[in-house]
Structures are given as C-alpha cells and as structure tokens.
Subunit: 247 residues, 2 copies
DNA sequence: CGCGAGTTTGATCACCATCAAAGCTTGTGG
DNA sequence: CCACAAGCTTTGATGGTGATCAAACTCGCG
C-alpha cells in the first residue's frame, strides 16, 4: 500500500472523513486546493523557530517531527507526524513559529498557501471546524505526551508511543495488521521520549526481550497488542478517532 | 486590583483585544454572550475525563488546572490557567473530554453554552479565528512544557514556570510589577513540573536561597527578572502575546 | 571495500523518587 | 479567642532510574 500514486491530500481527506461527513462540494473544495508537492531527504528542516511562513505543510509520505531546543542545545521532539497530518496548521493563526518542523525519513510533502486555506474556510465554514478540530487533536496528543513523559518510566513510555503510532498509522490505512514501518533512529525516539539514546537502546532491548515488539530493519511488529497496551498504559481516547462528526 | 466588580468575560475580552482589533459589533457580541457564573472552592473538579459537556468554562477569578492520571494514579498537570483563560474551549469540537479540569484555588467561573458559542462564531467568522487562536496558544504552551519537563532539570523547570506565570498574569493586568499571587500548593507545582513534592520543596528552597524568588504566603516576588529568565532559559515567544492581529 | 551513521555495551555518577516523621499554618468550631 | 484537626511544608536518609562518558561494533551505501 504505497501512497505514491495518490494525490497528496488524499490521506488527509481520508482521515478527516472518518470523523466528519463532508458534503460533496466541501470534499471537492478540499480536493481542488492548490498544492505544491516537494520531496525531501531525511533530517531536513521544513520550517524553523522564528519563521513566518505563508503556507502550511501536508505530509503525504514519510515521517516528520516537531522539535524544540533548549539554549544548551538539548532537543525535545514534541510531535511526530504520519502521512495525512498537517503539522503546522497552527501557522494559519500564530504568525511566528514557536517550533521547528523537520523530516525524519525521506518525505513527500505538499504546501498549501494560507490564503487558499482561508478562502476555503471562508466559503465552507464547516471546513473551518474540521481544520480547527485537527489542531485540537494535536493538542490532545501533546497533553498525553506530557502525562507519558512526566509520569511513566521509560519502558512504559516507549510502549505507549508504539501503541500510538500503530493506531495512527492504521487510521490512515498504513500498517498491515500488527506491523508498521518506522523509519526513525533511536536518537530521535530518545528525544521524543525524553531519555538519553543509550537508555533508549536498553529500553528497546527490554521490550524485545519481553516479546512486546519485534523489529526487522525499519519494521516494527507487535506480536501481542494487549500486552503492549498494558505495558504502555494506553487508552486511545485522546486520539479522538471514533467520535461522531463535529457539527 | 480585584476582579470582583467586573463582568465575568471582561478579562477574556481584554486578553483577546491585545492581539486582535475587534469591530464594535464583534466586541458587543462577545459582551452579550450569556454566561452563567458560579463560584467554586479550591480543588473541585469542573469537568472530568469522559464527560461530554455542552458548555465551556471561562475563568474569571482564581486558578484552575487541567490534569491527567495514569492507571497507577500518578497525576500530571498539563496546563495551568489564569483569569481570562478558556480552559476547555476544545470541547466545542472534541466531544468527549480527554482531560479533567479542576479549580486550584477558590474560583469564580462562567459557563458559556456551546450553542451560544457556535452562534457567535457563525455570525462573526473573525471571532472563530480568535477562539481558534486561543486554543492554538494553549497548544503552544503544551509544547513548551514538553520541552521544559523533558530537557531541563527541576530547578530550571521551576524557574521557567515562574516566568511563564508572571508574564501571563501581567498580560491580564494581574500582578504588580515583580509580584504576583500564586495560590497553589507545592504538591500541585510538583505535579505540573513532573517531580516529587519532596524534591519540589528543595527546589523552591534553592530558588529562594539564590535570590531568584521570594515568597510571602501565597505571594511570589521576583527580585531579579533577568536572573530568573536565565535560570529558566525562558523565551516568551511561545506565548504569542505580541503579534499583529490575525486576519 | 571503506566510510559514516547508527547501534550496542560497560562503567560511573547525579538527579530525583521514595519512605518516614516532624514542624508549621490555616481554617473551623467550641 | 483559643484549641484542635487537617492539610501543607520541611527535613533526613536511602536507593533507583536514567544521564553521561567512552569505545567497540554493525550495517547500509557510495
């Protein structure tokens, strides 16, 4: 199931559709949004702290992350994105970026001009609600990460993150059964979880030893979903995937 | 400067005005929003995980927090609110609450029906943008907390939080010069920062010993703003307080 | 085949959690 | 107005999770 052949906003629409019943013309309007497509190597900044972009970014293929740095140079990933996400939709209303956005794996991304977004929202107010909701779900994920990184130990945190990624990937049709691709280094996982990369390595070994995950190259296999869920103290409520559509 | 005599949405409007130039009728519409006012003792839940509220909450006086629990009962505060904040504006589009909202100090709060919010937003689309922006700023604060709690040590984290609170309170006209009221226990600060309360106590002693803060009962005094800022590695950009209004 | 990025391992140490108990404050009722 | 109780703050001691440093190993890739 590669996304190569699809239009760059297909997955976004797919995802939004699962929680919202579009009218035909609303869907048309989304599909007709002018999008400038680009491919990126891994590890490239897309937007940086302090920038004032005039467009926002749509992940079509690959993984990206949002990160922040302390003045000492320590890095925290504050979000991970899967295809279908719009990582910097916030830039529509917050002029100057408080975060940096970067590709984690090779990516194909689409850029949508803010002006075009505003036009669509103006003409179809229900789309405003859908996009607003998208940013609210990201905020909800931030909150869960705060709980995760603040109150669970590294082993559990990592289990939790695997759960989240599996669910989010399956929600956009990526990941087969109990398997998904995760083209991300241990250093990046460590930065997301808030541990050192050395410790992250040991945590991953422990998770493998306990049979919670298996890895084959960039692939992650979850042999026992219930066990992983329990280890990660995972409840998918915060992803808001199964709610009735917003009015 | 007590807020007792003011209408319950005054501070909210004040805050929004500082980043957005309302038209007269827009401001009128906000001022005419029906609000049901209530007073609360400290430590009361306002909304709980799993609820499906039909209204949202506006803090008029006092402090509130958003928290989440692990299944082991560990608590993480994921947000603190000052007067003028709308802590659960998200409930307008995310039906079931992924968080609990509680008063930290005695509070007076106002409740606005979702339906009324939707009416106002429908009639004045620019207000939609303002409210949307409000939720985006809260998300930005979440991200900074992720960085703070994940990459700084407790001493620095706490300094950072003091900086944030001073700025946010001054933005709504609370706090005189270098002083502000902070009716919150060390246990709650610990839950926000992600440390034990014992360690929080020692951190506060260290901050006092180093002259970064003084405390008199519930009052916090910041004798040397620059030093506190440096200790907390604080940059107010993420609060988005000084931007040109959203179009 | 060799380079560089990423992973793995070992050893030491610091920050902070945890447990336990004693002082302190604040509000409430007698 | 005082006394008591409950919640909050403070202190001490011990131990664990995870940071840090250093170096070897693996693997994909040009």
């Amino acid at each position: 199931m590669t996304a190569g052949s699809l239009s760059p906003n297909t997955l976004m629409i797919l995802k939004l559709e699962s929680i919202f019943a579009f009218a035909d013309e609303e869907k048309q309007a989304l599909q007709n949004l002018p999008i400038q497509v680009t491919t990126l190597k891994a590890g490239r900044d897309i937007v940086r702290v302090g920038d004032r972009p005039s467009q926002c970014c749509l992940i079509h293929e690959g993984f990206s992350c949002v990160y922040k740095l302390t003045s000492e140079g320590k890095r925290q990933l504050v979000a991970l994105h899967v295809p279908g996400d719009i990582p910097d939709l916030q830039s529509l209303h917050l002029k100057t970026m408080d975060i940096s956005l970067a590709s984690i794996s090779p990516c194909t991304v689409g850029f949508i001009q803010h002006d075009d977004m505003r036009c669509v929202c103006e003409r179809y107010p229900r789309l405003t609600a859908v996009f607003w909701r998208e940013t609210l779900v990201h905020a909800s994920i931030h909150r869960e990460w705060l709980l995760n990184n603040g109150q669970r130990e590294a082993y559990s945190r990592m289990a939790h993150l695997f759960c989240e990624l599996l669910i989010r990937l399956k929600a956009v049709g990526l990941g087969e059964g109990d398997t998904f691709d995760l083209p991300i280094t241990q250093v990046e996982l460590a930065d997301a979880i808030g541990t050192s990369s050395v410790h992250m390595n040991r945590v991953l070994q422990a998770l493998r030893a306990d049979g919670l995950i298996q890895t084959k190259g960039k692939q992650v296999i979850v042999p026992d979903w219930e066990k992983l869920k329990e280890a990660g103290d995972f409840d998918p409520l915060y992803l808001h995937l199964e709610e009735a559509g917003a009015a």
